[in-house]
């Protein structure tokens, strides 16, 4: 007997337990070019547990990226509070990592130098240790032997794998990801997603992933948060009770529960 997802209780946005990330009544107001002000997101409450993988899905313009910008510390919220590891976020912090949609590899740096870039910027480790860490991470993403290549010689999928290595280089406690796989073609995306899962399961960082791709959200996350269009609010939350370690490829073809999560969340987004 398959458990019926229609009857499984929804997850909770606020868990009340110890949280790696806590958002309270978070609101961001912008001013339009005409001078009217509008809320991009309104009264968001969300807890993310230590080591948890949360995906946030929603239609474009629902304020997902605004939310991530606020947590990253680059955008101060209009109202509300954010804390990461029980410390209020008041600016960009070294313990919060960020992975953008574009690979953003610096074209004049070799692959290994690109992975070392965040460590250099944050003055961490000695040059020799940086080099060693870069090589370990490149091995983990399957790019041993490409350390001295310049980015222009790599395929898009390989560039994104370098970007994953760069993201993990500083071992951030919290990882914020803004549609990091959206630039890849469907086939490469599954390969890179699986690779990311493997590394994540080993490193076990807290992750907040923003995506408009429901399949990606369900396949990767422990919990999926569905947002409503402007002003962005939390519409519903789903605990994804799929076993780990997961394989995105297997989920796609062989897991009926996965399909039902998809249907349910998809319907939620259609409202």
């Amino acid at each position: 007997m398959q458990p019926d997802i229609e009857q499984t209780p929804l997850g909770e946005a606020v868990t009340g337990g110890p949280a790696a990330i806590a958002l309270r009544r978070l609101t961001q107001t912008f001013r339009s070019p005409k001078g009217e002000s509008f809320d991009a997101i309104a009264d968001i409450d969300l807890d993310v547990a230590d080591g948890e993988f949360v995906a946030i899905v929603g239609p474009s313009g629902c304020g997902k990226s605004t939310l991530l910008n606020i947590v990253s510390g680059i955008l101060p919220p209009t109202r509300g509070e954010v804390s990461v590891k029980d410390i209020p976020v008041t600016g960009v912090r070294d313990d919060i990592g960020y992975m953008p949609a574009r690979d953003l590899l610096l074209p004049w740096r070799t692959v290994e130098h690109n992975v070392e870039f965040p460590l250099e910027i944050q003055r961490r480790l000695s040059p020799a240790e940086r080099r060693q860490r870069a090589h370990e991470l490149l091995a983990a993403v399957g790019l041993s032997g490409f350390e001295r290549y310049y980015p222009h010689a790599l395929s898009q999928g390989m560039k994104q794998r370098v970007a994953i290595a760069r993201t993990f280089a500083t071992r951030p406690d919290v990882l914020l990801m803004d549609e990091p796989f959206s630039a890849l073609d469907a086939q490469t995306r599954v390969v890179v997603q699986d690779l990311f899962l493997t590394i994540w399961e080993a490193e076990h960082r807290t992750v907040v992933l923003i995506t408009h791709d429901v399949t990606e959200a369900v396949a990767l996350a422990d919990r999926v948060v569905v947002m409503s269009p402007r002003p962005g609010t939390i519409r519903s939350v789903y605990d994804i009770a799929l076993p780990r370690p997961r394989s995105v490829e297997q989920l796609l073809f062989e897991e009926p529960r996965y399909q039902r999560y998809l249907q349910r969340i998809w319907r939620d987004l259609q409202h």
Binding site: Y98, L106, W108, F117, A153
Partner: protein, 277 residues
């Protein structure tokens, strides 16, 4: 693993493509050489057959003879060195000052906004026409010619460097800020490297102006140099001497530009080939 195999295959294809590119480059070099020979022969023929008056156009054989004579007399090197001296000193100083000011104006937007009308005005002024003024100010020595060359180079390099600092991919800056980068690091590790191709382009462009500036300077106020050869030649209707000086100027420009191109390709080998060429 199949991905690695695909990559090796891809790089092999790329290598083959590059080899093909080199082959066609060899072909085009041969074509260019053949074209030059035909052109020179036609020129020689036109003058010898009397289609063009010898008084206005020296045949290539006469030009070669003049160059040979000047070289034999030992004066040719003096002239070339004189021109190169003003060119290279003015070019080096102009590049240095242009790059520094370009960064300063590009990285300090308020000062940049304040000074940019001045820069635009200076840049649009035909600075070669300032040569007589420079003579008044700096005398008829090397200084005037260096200043003339400098004034040509500095604004080209300045405007390009400034444009380069402002054309950095905004997402690179955003990523750096998200990594908590200091301003100093952003400038040194992001802005500076992405401006280098702009500086190179400006240097190659302005070198032609530098050489022209040195030659024109000598035409006004030189006792030596390729520009002096041109003026001296025209004074006595020695057409082949004028052409000899022109040919040498072109050769200098060609050799130095090729060397710069080689250097640029080596320093900027991170750029995709299609962009570098």
């Amino acid at each position: 693993m199949s991905q690695e195999a695909t990559l090796t295959q891809q790089s092999r294809v790329a290598v083959r493509k590059e080899a093909a590119g080199q082959f066609s480059r060899l072909q085009s070099a041969a074509l260019r050489a053949a074209g030059t020979v035909v052109f020179v022969l036609a020129w020689e023929g036109a003058v010898r057959s009397g289609i063009v008056d010898r008084l206005f156009l020296a045949p290539p054989s006469a030009i070669a003879e003049t160059i040979w004579e000047l070289a034999g007399a030992g004066t040719l090197w003096t002239h070339i060195l004189e021109t190169l001296r003003a060119t290279l000193i003015g070019f080096a100083a102009g590049t240095l000052v242009g790059v520094l000011l370009g960064f300063a104006l590009g990285l300090m937007p308020r000062i940049g906004a304040l000074l940019s009308p001045f820069v635009t005005t200076m840049n649009s002024m035909p600075r070669i026409a300032l040569a007589p003024l420079f003579v008044l100010w700096f005398g008829i020595g090397l200084t005037s010619r260096v200043v003339l060359v400098f004034s040509l180079v500095v604004f080209i390099v300045l405007t390009n460097t400034m444009a380069g600092t402002q054309s950095v991919d905004g997402d690179f800056l955003r990523l750096s800020r998200l990594l908590n980068a200091k301003r100093r690091d952003i400038i040194l590790k992001v802005v500076l490297p992405s401006t280098v191709p702009w500086i190179f382009a400006a240097m190659r462009l302005s070198f032609a102006y530098a050489l022209a500036g040195a030659v024109v300077g000598e035409m006004f106020l030189g006792q030596r140099g390729l520009g002096y050869l041109i003026v001296a030649g025209s004074g006595v209707f020695n057409i082949s001497q004028i052409f000899a000086a022109l040919v040498i100027t072109v050769c200098i420009a060609y050799v130095l530009d090729s060397a710069a191109g080689l250097l640029e390709r080596n320093l900027l080998k991170w750029r995709p080939k299609e962009l570098a060429r």
